[in-house]
Structure formats: C-alpha cells, structure tokens
C-alpha cells in the first residue's frame, strides 16, 4: 500500500520538486488547488501525512493545522522559513508533529516523514532488503546473500551498497555517493570511498555475484 502525502505549499517549484522526489520514494502525493478550502481538499484526498507551509494565501498554516486537528490526528510536518522560536512553539501548540526550516535537505525531510509514519502506522521501510540479480542486501543485519553464500559488510559498506542498489541500472556519481554517506554521519573523503569500493568489489567476487561494480571514468560507478 502506498502512503498518501498532502503538500500544502503555494510555491509551485517547491511543491513540484517535492512531489517528484516523494514519488521516487513510492508515496502518492497530492497538492492543494484552492487555498480557501484546504479542509475539504484534505477530506477528499485523505492523506496519511501532511506537509504544511506557514505563509499561505488567504489563511496561514497555523489555522489549517488547527482545523485539521479538529477532524484528524494525521501527522503534520511544518515546512517554513519562519523558524523563530515563537513560530516553532506556535506550530507545536497548534498540534504539529515536527518543524523543518526552509531551506532544508530533502534527505532530512524524508527521514522525518519515515519516522513519523513508523510511529503512527507501523510503517515498515520497504527497502530494508534490497535485491539485484539474485543478490540480497539485508540492511538491518549488514549482510549480503547470494545463493548459499553470505558475506558480512561494515556499516559504511552497507551504506554504499544501499545507494548502489537503490540506483541500479544507473551510473552513481562519486559526489552523490559521498553526499548520501555524509547524510548518515559518515564524513567520507575521496580516499576512503575508493578504499571502501575496493573492499566491496573483493567481497562481491568472494560471493561469486553475477555482477560487479564497474567504474565509469569521470562519471561514477555502475552495477553491471
């Protein structure tokens, strides 16, 4: 089942980009068309989570948060550039579950969405196990399985493999890999990434995996 997220944001660029990126994460995303009737659109769409801006046309986000709270206990995340303490306190008092400052990092937003969904709905992150050509990556156990053989991975190797598996059939740039590793508190540099890659390649060989990590010169890495 796909979770439904409603974006209440009047900036079309932000709303559009959020929609595209959230859809990549397998969510169904809805917009608000008429900012005078957010509640009726909320009722019609029936979202599992709401992302709410504060400054909106006609009424502000606090009012809509308050109104939504009268009819629903759905998780609400405020997303606003008005990040003074007063605004955050106000948002929380109106019944919001979290507050993210603009500008924000999409990875932070997705982590907070997942955490809220997990707390509210028993949401299981669907990609705890990733698979490619019969090779299974168990993120929780930090293991790679292929047929009867298995192989342990270090934390950082798991993070790298996760990004590679999520982007199978695509060239993953070193920069993208590094950014994703940074987001998980692992401030990797060029050398460390190369060392990790070498180790992962050896492990894939030991596993007799039907693919390897190929280096595309000047572009990045590809599972092939």
């Amino acid at each position: 089942m796909k979770y439904k997220i409603m974006i209440v944001e009047d900036d079309e660029i932000i709303a559009g980009s959020l929609k595209r990126q959230l859809e990549n994460w397998d969510f169904t995303v809805g917009f608000i068309n008429d900012f005078k009737s957010v509640i009726s659109e909320f009722m019609a769409f029936g979202p599992d989570l709401v992302i709410l801006d504060i400054s909106l046309p006609y009424y502000n986000g606090y009012k809509w948060c308050n109104d939504i709270r009268k009819v629903s206990a759905v998780p609400i995340i405020f997303l606003s550039s008005m990040s003074d303490n007063m605004n955050i306190v106000m948002a929380m008092n109106m019944g919001a579950d979290d507050f993210i400052n603009k500008p924000f990092n999409f990875q932070v937003l997705i982590a907070k969405i997942q955490a809220l969904l997990r707390r509210t709905y028993d949401y299981q992150i669907s990609n705890d196990h990733l698979e490619y050509k019969g090779v299974l990556l168990d993120i929780g156990a930090a293991m790679l399985y292929f047929q009867d053989t298995k192989c342990e991975l270090t934390k950082n190797e798991v993070r790298i493999m996760k990004v590679m598996f999520e982007n199978k059939n695509k060239v993953v740039s070193r920069e993208l890999l590094m950014q994703r590793l940074w987001e998980s508190d692992y401030y990797v540099d060029d050398n460390t990434l190369s060392v990790n890659m070498t180790r992962i390649r050896k492990k894939l060989e030991l596993l007799k995996a039907p693919f390897a990590i190929k280096t595309k010169k000047g572009q990045g890495y590809l599972l092939d």
């Binding site: 980009s17 990126q21 550039s81 303490n85 603009k102 500008p103 590094m178 940074w182 987001e183 540099d189």
Partner: protein, 324 residues
Amino acid sequence: MKHLYKEYIKDRHYYLLSLLFIVFFADLFLLLYGAEANALAYLNISLLIFITVMTALDYWRYRRLFRALVDFRKEPLIKDIVDDRQNLLKAYAVIIDDLKQIIKNSDEANEKKMREMIDYYTLWVHQIKTPIAAMQLLLDESGDLELKSELIKIEQYVTMVLGYLRINAETTDFVFSHVDLDKLIGEVVKEFAPVFISKHLRIEVAKTGYHFLTDEKWLAFVLGQIISNALKYTKNGSIRIYKQDHYLVVADSGIGIDPKDLPRVFEKGYSGSEGRIDKRASGIGLYLAKKILLELGSDIFIDSKLGEYTRVYIDISDRNMMIE
C-alpha cells in the same frame, strides 16, 4: 517680558538688600562718630548713583540673557510656551526639561525605526529563503555540487544578515538549554557537505560526548561562520573539529593569518592589511562570532601560522553553575 524687572528684583533681592544695608550701616557708624551731614549726603548720593548704574547694567545683562533663552525656546525643536514671569534659573530648568523630552522622543523614534527595519529584514530573510529552498530542491534532483556549494554560500550570507541585526538589537532572544555538542556539530557540518565534497576537503570530527548549557541556535550560527571561513581559506588538506580542555577547536590546514592581522581579526569590518585574508571578506563573520559568544558568556580566540594552519578556539565551559 513686561514684568521682567520684578523677576530680576526677586532673583537678586539678597544682593540688592545687602547693598542698601551697607549704605545704611555706613551712615549709622559715620553718624555715631559725628560725621558732618554734608559728607554723609555726598557719600549717600554717590553710593546710590553707583549702585543704580551697576544694577541697571546688571539688569540689562540679565534681560539680554533671558531674551536669548526665550529666543532659544522659540526654536522649532522646543515647544513654545514662554512664560513672561519666569526667572533665569527657572528658564534654564524648563529648557533642560524640554531637551530631555526631545532626547526621549528621538530615542523612541529611533527605536521604532530600528524595530521596523529589523521587522523588514526578518521578512526579507523569510522571503529570500523560499526561492533558496526551491533552488536547493531542484539541485537535489539534478545533483550539481558546485551550484549547491554556491547556494550554501548565499544561505550563509542571508543567515548572517539576520544574525547581525538580532545580536545588535536591544533585546536578543537567548534560549538556554542543555545542548548535545556532537549532535550540533553533526548538523552544522552536514550543511556544508556539498562544499567539502566538491572541494575534495577531508573533515575529521572527533566525538566529544559533551553536553552543556548554551543557546543552540546561536552556537550553531557561530560554528557555521567558523566552518564557512575554514572552507573559504583552505584549498587542500583537512578541517578538524575536536574538543581540547574546555574549548571546541576548529582547525584547518589553510592559508593561515598574518601575525600582524591576528590581533585585529575580530574587529568589525577588518578584512586584513593590504586587502589580505580575502578581498571578498566582509570582516563581519568573526566580529559577529565574538560578539555572540561574549553575550553567551563564552569567548573565542585564534591561533594561526601563516601558510600552515588556523585554529579557532571556542570556549565551551559549562556556565550551569553561574546561571543557577
């Protein structure tokens, strides 16, 4: 003005009485010692003429001063309530009161202007953050690190505007809480990820396991400024963040600071002798950092060797005891 002479007499009556008293006593003593009536008359006439002339001169001076004060009070700045019957000292008192009122009014007007300016800049910062957020999201999709790095710089400058206005405002909103230093460092460092990655700079963050009472937002702002500086002036090598005694140290392997600039780097607007340090440097970042830290009851200092390293020390002693 017409009864000014009455005021003058009132003002000077002890002095005038003493003069008459002196004449009276002189007459009395001379009379007792048997002076001739003629001599007495001459003395009295000449003394009275002398006294009258001097008093007239004094009155003339008094009147001139008073007129000057009245004219002064007629100036547009001062509210125009001229009371004819006021004496000189009272006139001064009224003028001083007027001036006090003027200062108070102008202070209030300035404060209001300042508040309105801060309100506008606050609004502006919120406005500019929406397009920045939009650009950041679009760049998340396209993944251009160099553009992202530039956007981080813009965001940093925007944050600086607000920091500058707020720390210079009469009332600054400090919110003290127990802060997990490692978490704070992590959050700030991650903001700069695209810069580190695109410049191929290494960062080493040593876990501190330290918690202390401070204002999280302001400290994060200061740390952001310091890391942003370190990134600006480091071409290769690494930036290290670690705790040493009661200091948080941000050390870089960058161009360093000339010893003759070092004592002045925290001055507002100082960006190095002969345009050194950096032509783009505003001289605001470190000034703000120091000011904020001093207000937080902390401090900052820098140790550097030109061409080798810069180490910024932020005092992170726990002020818990002092506040409780």
